[in-house]
């Protein structure tokens, strides 16, 4: 998948860069993850290199998946989800992260079982296991409506769960609350990408059977509406900053659902590099945002003093704030283009109800992110800044995600103006 980058660079440079953008984003995220891992290395680890190697070896395939989502056939999506769970569970001493792995595995196993049941029923009804061949066969109306409609609904369940939109928004919240900062964004991006790929593969060629397309549109509209409204409503209720990042990530799943509800057979965000760049943005924005959230007080009011990061290194804090704002789709960030892309898709496909949901979710996300950043800057109380600095590698990680997002913004902006 390439991404056209017109501009003043000259044809050769533009061609080279257009192919590199989807690759550069996961690479930058890998670099940021390495920096965070280095800063968070435990003092008492007996074999730190082994743990780092295990993590690195697992993160690289996840980064490859993010760069080339076309690889994600349904079976590989399940494999990627399994790898993500294994990554979360690899360290039994890390109890919160292991608990998250258990919770996600618990739900995903059941979701995959339901979806595979649906797949099997669809194969029985249509006589083929390939989605593209199933719809023309079902269009012959040889099978009862109850059979194929139930099978189709069930087959989409894994995709809905993996995308993490409400009511399945619990896993992004748990993930960003319980998992470590360099692991959670990779797992979230991989799982959500797997969900999007799952749905896209299952809806491949569905326009050949109008009744099925109409049914899918209704189901996805309902799912998107629940994801957007539920995500917007729960965003304000989240008690911890990490969980707020999780709620913002779940809204990204809602965006994919809304886009698919409007045009089920079209790849979401096609005007902005498709799922590859969406996942790359999600990876980097959630990396910066979750790292920032570790420095934020859980329950302090806006009138209390700033956290250590903002008192010692306010510009690094601002870099993290940019990532958080991008995740929320605030103006002036690359995330804004993704929200606008979905809004445009919905308007052009005449879905004002869902567009209203996107608007509501955007207002909530932007408002909460802006409030969070104000809270992070706190209020000056005259006391000197703490003597202990925030590790340099963490600050570099924040700047890495921020600068990569700025590059993405430039790329999208130049494409739009070109």
């Amino acid at each position: 998948m390439t991404f056209a980058l017109p501009g003043r660079l000259g044809p050769w440079a533009a061609d080279q860069l257009s192919g590199l953008v989807p690759l550069l984003l996961p690479l930058a995220a890998l670099a940021a993850a390495g920096l965070i891992r280095r800063a968070h290395a435990r003092a008492g680890e007996t074999q730190p290199w082994l743990d780092a190697a295990v993590v690195a070896l697992t993160l690289v395939p996840l980064a490859v998946v993010v760069a080339w989502p076309a690889l994600l056939l349904p079976a590989r999506a399940a494999l990627a989800a399994g790898l993500s769970v294994a990554l979360l569970a690899h360290d039994p001493r890390d109890l919160p992260q292991t608990e998250v792995a258990l919770k996600i595995m618990w739900v995903l196993a059941a979701a995959f079982a339901l979806s595979w049941t649906g797949d099997a029923l669809l194969a029985i009804a249509s006589g083929s296991a390939r989605a593209r061949e199933q719809w023309p066969a079902l269009a012959l109306a040889l099978d009862p409506y109850a059979l194929w409609s139930s099978a189709l609904s069930l087959s989409l369940m894994a995709g809905l769960v993996l995308l993490g939109g409400a009511p399945f928004h619990f896993w992004p919240g748990d993930l960003f609350h319980g998992a470590r900062a360099h692991v959670a964004p990779f797992v979230a991006a991989t799982l959500q990408l797997a969900g999007a790929a799952w749905l896209l593969r299952h809806l491949d060629g569905i326009t050949a059977f109008n009744e099925a397309a109409a049914l899918v549109r209704s189901l996805l509209t309902l799912a998107a509406a629940a994801a957007l409204a539920g995500g917007a409503a729960t965003l304000g209720y989240q008690s911890r900053p990490e969980r707020r990042v999780g709620a913002l990530v779940s809204l990204q799943g809602g965006l994919v659902l809304a886009s698919l509800a409007a045009a089920p057979s079209r790849e979401p965000f096609a005007d902005h590099g498709g799922l590859a760049l969406w996942a790359g943005h999600l990876l980097l924005a959630s990396m910066g945002a979750t790292l920032l959230s570790r420095f934020l007080p859980a329950a302090a009011g806006p009138e209390e003093r700033a956290s250590v990061l903002f008192r010692r290194h306010p510009w690094s804090g601002a870099a993290g704030g940019y990532a958080l704002l991008s995740l929320a789709g605030a103006p002036g960030t690359p995330g804004m283009y993704l929200w606008l892309d979905v809004a445009r898709t919905l308007a052009l496909n005449r879905r004002p109800g869902l567009l209203f949901g996107v608007t509501l979710a955007w207002l909530a996300a932007f408002g909460v992110a802006a409030f969070e950043i104000r809270r992070a800057f706190g209020a000056p109380d005259g006391t000197p800044p703490p003597s202990r600095a925030v590790p340099r590698s963490l600050r570099v990680a924040l700047w890495t995600s921020c600068s990569s997002l700025v590059v993405l913004l430039w790329a999208w902006h130049s494409r739009r103006s070109g």
Partner: protein
């Protein structure tokens, strides 16, 4: 070697943000306007967080993020769908048949038609309208803010008065966006009329001149916005009329905080009294003429609803701007404040009539009957009603023990309206919380519950296709 840290004092950073914000609001683009309002909100936040009572100040000015968010929403809609700009644009269906017969235009469609573009364009217009009305104290949620001093200590009483300025700038510069949609003019007209009445009442019920002047800036901004909403004169002329009237009050407010400089000496006081009255009357006059006598007939309700606050505000200005008692034994020769104050008064005096002359040269006209009747409320303020208003009492004890009368009526009317509005908003919030509480309680964080959710959604997915 560490680099020296650049630390900008919060007051300067806030002032820079506020000035830049107001400058950006004068640019035509929606994004600039949103950025401008965001910067003004940022300025208030910067000032508020640096004060000792920061908790109270931050919560007091927290609403200032709402107007820029509304503008961002409108800007985002136009960014996502550039074709929205064409939705309510009049479309010519044929060429004009000569210099005296204009081309025929297709009437604008209603927003309730099934085309989502119409709905979205109306949402964008309403968002801009919200962003303009709220900083002007014309919406219920932020109505009483001009009663409060701003969060920067030395200029706090003056600072609050720039918020209606931002509201008017939004409505004036973005008029093409919000006036095009159906019903927005009517909504704006209603909200602004209520704001005009309430701000005049509140200005009257406040005893301190600084608070009265703040409310009069709200009153002027609402009057000028109504001129824009009703398209009485060109936007630039409405802005100049507003500049003369509200600008004069802002200068007077600043002078009041600098040793009552606008009221030092009998001549200067008289000059200010005349200047403020003339500027205010110039602003109200075309509006009263249009509201009362549009479509060649008299509209008594609209006329009297607007005439009463015009009379009250004019009388207030004439009554409250009285010579300040001179406590200094000797005035410093290098004191330039009286000279600057005189210059401000002359500018205020000339702005209104000059704007009206410009409007006339641009083709705006008013019938003699409408012109005469529209001038009556402002003229009545000189005599005899002005004498009915109690003279301002400077002593604190006397202020507190003064009898109420009409002032009590104004105060209780304003309070009743704001209490009703606040209770309405609280009732809506309570209902929303009550509806949201069960959804919140659904989620306990237990892993078993996740599986139950999944099973529930799966059952729903099985049933929904059968129920279609």
């Amino acid at each position: 070697m560490g680099l020296p840290r650049l630390r900008v004092p919060t007051s300067y950073a806030g002032a820079a943000c506020a000035i830049l914000g107001v400058v950006l609001l004068m640019l035509p683009g929606l994004v600039w306007a949103a950025l401008g309002l965001e910067l003004v909100a940022l300025a208030f936040w910067l000032w508020a967080r640096s004060l000792p009572d920061r908790a109270e100040q931050l919560s007091r000015w927290g609403w200032l993020r709402r107007p820029p968010t509304a503008l961002w929403l409108a800007a985002a809609l136009f960014l996502a769908l550039p074709e929205l700009r064409l939705v309510f644009a009049p479309v010519a269906t044929g060429p004009s048949g000569g210099p005296f017969s204009p081309p025929t235009f297709v009437p604008t469609p209603l927003p309730l038609a099934r085309d989502p573009m119409l709905f979205l364009r109306t949402v964008a217009s309403l968002a801009v309208l919200w962003a303009g009305l709220e900083p002007m104290a014309a919406l219920p949620l932020s109505r009483p803010f001009p009663d409060l001093t701003g969060p920067a200590r030395p200029v706090g009483p003056w600072l609050t008065a720039i918020l209606p300025v931002t509201g008017f700038l939004v409505l004036w510069r973005q008029a093409a966006v919000w006036t095009a949609a159906p019903l927005t003019r009517e909504i704006a007209g209603l909200a602004l009329m209520i704001a005009i009445v309430l701000s005049a009442l509140r200005a009257y019920s406040r005893r301190s001149l600084t608070a009265t002047l703040r409310w009069l800036v709200v009153y002027d901004s609402a009057l000028a916005s109504l001129l824009v909403a009703r398209d009485v004169v060109h936007g630039e002329i409405a802005a100049l009329l507003w500049l003369g009237s509200a600008g004069g009050r802002l200068i007077a407010l600043a002078a009041e905080l600098r040793g009552q400089a606008a009221r030092r000496g009998a001549n200067l006081t008289r000059l200010w009294r005349l200047a403020g009255w003339l500027a205010g009357s110039s602003l109200a006059w075309p509006l009263l003429a249009d509201a009362g006598f549009s479509e060649h007939r008299f509209h008594p309700v609209e006329f009297f609803v607007l005439a009463a606050p015009v009379l009250l505000a004019s009388a207030l200005w004439l009554n409250r701007v009285v010579e300040a008692p001179e406590r200094r034994s000797m005035v410093r020769r290098e004191d330039r404040v009286p000279r600057v104050s005189r210059l401000g008064a002359v500018a205020t005096l000339l702005a209104g009539p000059a704007s009206l002359a410009w409007a006339r040269s641009q083709g705006w006209s008013v019938t003699s009957t409408a012109g005469l009747v529209a001038a009556i409320p402002a003229l009545l303020a000189w005599w005899p009603l002005r004498r009915l208003l109690p003279a301002p009492e400077t002593r604190q004890a006397a202020r507190e023990n003064a009898a109420g009368g009409p002032r009590d009526f104004a105060l209780s009317t304003f309070r009743a309206v704001t209490v009703i509005e606040r209770q309405g908003a609280a009732a809506i919030a309570t209902v929303a919380r009550a509806l949201g509480a069960p959804a919140r309680d659904l989620h306990s964080g237990d892993a078993q519950e996740y599986l139950l959710f999944l099973v529930g959604v799966a059952v729903l997915a099985l049933l929904l296709p059968l129920l279609r």
